[in-house]
């Protein structure tokens, strides 16, 4: 008896279809609220929620001569590839969204991109850096720049600023973002300084907390600086442990450092180091500054790069919807119009920089290198454009 209740309840929930309201625009969010990286999902959700309230409080989004209220649907993909696929299908078919924002990490963005491309629904991944996500997929876009651009930025900057001849790398083996960036960095650095100039190339696992063996090896190799293309939570541990093992040299990081939480977790240890990223929070001006301050006031912490990129990605979608000049109500036609509008955006002025899309759907935008100053702020140091 009990069993049949559960069954009935399950079926009931599964079949409860959302009601369709004519004057709303639905956008789906395929984000990891649980699993390995819940913080990424939370940032995305918060940023999107802020944007939705913004638009709706002004009456809604004006498309052509009609104004629509926004409805954002947040679905958890549990940081799993298979769940990202079903999530994408559910958003496309059950919820009938016009476009999808997410997934964030490439492990989910690559398969979900396939689903969106097959089902002709525009998708934009805020954070995925794997080329496969958008490659040969006209319906898939992204807001973050790719690893092949960011790697050389780090090499050039370190060569110039630290007068580096040798480098060491520590990266996350199971994280394709980290691994990809580490390999591109290594190839580019060795091209510049000769084979063997990357004196140590060490990996660790995603949930590792102890890096002492890798760091001991790196420090023994005496590099001029250590490149750490890792997520900020691991950066905090790596930098601290390196200092405990006697390392006093500089660190260079990547955009995954760009979280306000970095300073909270890392404290004094991270001060004085550099990383390349999408935008500099300290000294930001205009819309970027406004976004950071409002986000901080609303949720109590400075937004990280995921939040900023989600904000931009979602605004790109809204911009594309407005560019269509009017929705027909026919889902297939509208999705096609939105895709075409997205692909033909000339220049989008986002809070993470100006960007437009190339033919693969990847953004062309500038990177900045920031320094962490003694107040723990990310200070603009230099800007590199492709």
């Amino acid at each position: 008896m009990r069993r049949s209740w559960i069954l009935a309840a399950t079926l009931g929930l599964a079949l409860a279809a959302p009601a369709w309201a004519a004057d709303t625009i639905k956008i789906g969010f395929n984000i990891p609220l649980t699993g390995d990286i819940p913080k990424v999902g939370e940032s995305s959700k918060y940023a999107a929620e802020m944007l939705r309230e913004d638009v709706n409080s002004k009456g809604g989004l004006k498309v052509g001569d009609k104004t629509y209220k926004l409805e954002f649907i947040y679905e958890d993909n549990e940081s799993k590839a298979e769940s990202a696929v079903t999530t994408a299908l559910k958003l496309i078919e059950q919820d009938e969204v016009l476009a999808i924002v997410g997934p964030n990490s490439s492990k989910q963005a690559v398969p979900a991109g396939q689903v969106c491309d097959d089902n002709e629904t525009p998708m934009i991944s805020p954070w995925s850096t794997n080329p496969d996500t958008t490659k040969d997929r006209p319906w898939v876009f992204r807001a973050a720049f790719l690893d092949p651009f960011q790697g050389p930025v780090a090499v050039d900057f370190a060569t110039k600023t630290f007068q580096a001849k040798t480098a060491a790398v520590i990266y996350d083996l199971s994280n394709d973002y980290s691994k990809g960036l580490a390999e591109i960095f290594k190839a580019d650095f060795e091209k510049k300084h000769g084979a063997g100039s990357v004196v140590a190339f060490e990996s660790h696992g995603t949930k590792d907390q102890d890096f002492s063996a890798q760091l001991t090896k790196i420090i023994a190799a005496k590099p001029d600086f250590i490149f750490v293309p890792d997520n900020y939570n691991q950066v905090a541990l790596i930098v601290k442990q390196a200092h405990n093992l006697g390392w006093t040299g500089p660190f260079m990081g990547s955009d995954a450092w760009g979280s306000a939480e970095l300073m909270e977790l890392c404290g004094d240890d991270c001060k004085g180091h550099y990383f390349s990223t999408h935008y500099a929070a300290a000294g930001a001006t205009g819309a970027t500054k406004e976004f950071i301050e409002r986000y901080k006031a609303k949720y109590g912490y400075t937004p990280d790069d995921v939040a900023a990129l989600t904000w931009d990605a979602t605004r790109i979608v809204l911009q594309a919807i407005q560019d269509t000049g009017g929705l027909t109500g026919d889902l297939d036609k509208d999705r096609k119009a939105i895709r075409d509008a997205m692909a033909s955006i000339k220049e989008f002025d986002g809070i993470t920089g100006k960007m437009r899309f190339d033919e693969q759907g990847d953004p062309i935008k500038c990177a900045v290198v920031v320094k962490i100053n003694d107040q723990g702020e990310f200070v603009f140091t230099e800007s590199v454009c492709p």
Binding site: E42, Q209, A213, A236, L237
Partner: protein, 304 residues
């Protein structure tokens, strides 16, 4: 070269200490109940968070207290509170199943589920932001002959050894320790001898969970980034360590913990680090195929 080896041995001792402290909890419970308490890694996580809240509470409410006083209060308080969590798990989830005579593997699955609830309960309650454990003692880096270590590192290693001596004493020299060994020897005869079996089991959980709490605080001080999933991987690996040592034996858990720590660190030190898991687990497989019941395990014909 020598300094590199000594440095790596120190690293291995510190990392192994955490495996050992968590493995002790697995082994204690297993020794008495033959239960793989898969929630133990998450109890460790809860311990770290409890330590965080106690320490932060003390630092804000009684500002001006020196760090070592806060630490001296935090450790026993955390151990006590974590023990409460462990005992609650046993009372709410495991004991009813045991009473019903369920296959012990169902209790194992229940433990897995309880671990998931602890993880996601934490995520839902506290949000996804990671927590930074406050610095209670001033970490000092000493460098002697190319070998760097901190006062904290030494303290962790000493604490692990002290805990081992204490637990070994309790299990082999005290009356309740004797009762624990008796239950694992013959679960059915023990109640007939007038030994309160449930009391002994609760005591076992108190011991195991408070050790997890201690490990949590020490861990949070050494690796000050707290997140809901921090106990999952280290929990699985500590379980592996306990089994390689010979599960159910205090010495086994202790040696197994240090062994796993040493294997992981030394593989990275002398091989390409991408092969760490591959080589480390192959070594463990080889050990188990030569000593099928672990290093300290006693061969006995058991059936499930």
């Amino acid at each position: 070269m020598l300094s590199t080896i000594v440095q790596n041995l120190l690293n291995a001792l510190q990392w192994g200490s955490f495996y050992a402290l968590i493995a002790l909890g697995y082994s204690l419970v297993y020794g008495v109940l033959l239960l793989i308490n898969f929630a133990h890694g998450d109890v460790f996580m809860v311990g770290a968070y409890i330590g965080f809240f106690v320490a932060t509470f003390l630092l804000t409410q009684a500002a001006g207290l020196p760090g070592w006083v806060v630490l001296a209060v935090t450790i026993p308080a955390t151990m006590a509170l974590t023990a409460v969590v462990g005992v609650t798990l046993e009372r709410v989830a495991y004991r009813p199943l045991r009473r019903k005579g369920a296959n012990r593997l169902y209790v194992v699955i229940t433990a897995l589920m309880a671990g998931l609830i602890l993880e996601h309960g934490n995520l839902a309650l506290l949000g996804a932001s990671r927590k930074k454990f406050p610095e209670l003692i001033n970490e000092v880096v000493y460098t002697v002959g190319g070998v760097s270590f901190t006062n904290l590192k030494i303290a962790v290693i000493l604490a692990a050894f002290a805990v081992f001596v204490l637990l070994h004493f309790i299990v082999t020299r005290t009356k309740i320790g004797m009762a624990m060994r008796a239950i694992s020897y013959d679960k059915f005869a023990v109640p007939l001898m007038g030994i309160p079996i449930d009391t002994v089991i609760v005591f076992t959980f108190i011991l195991g969970s408070s050790m997890a709490g201690l490990a949590g605080v020490l861990f949070a001080m050494s690796y000050p980034v707290l997140e809901p999933y921090m106990g999952a991987l280290i929990g699985w690996k500590a379980f592996i360590a306990a089994v390689v040592g010979g599960i159910g034996d205090i010495r086994g858990a202790f040696v197994g913990g240090f062994l796993l720590g040493a294997v992981e660190i030394l593989v990275v030190a002398f091989f390409p680090s991408t092969f760490r898991d591959l080589i480390a687990f192959t070594v463990l497989l080889v050990i188990l195929s030569f000593k099928p019941t672990g290093l300290f395990g006693v061969a006995k014909t058991t059936k499930i």
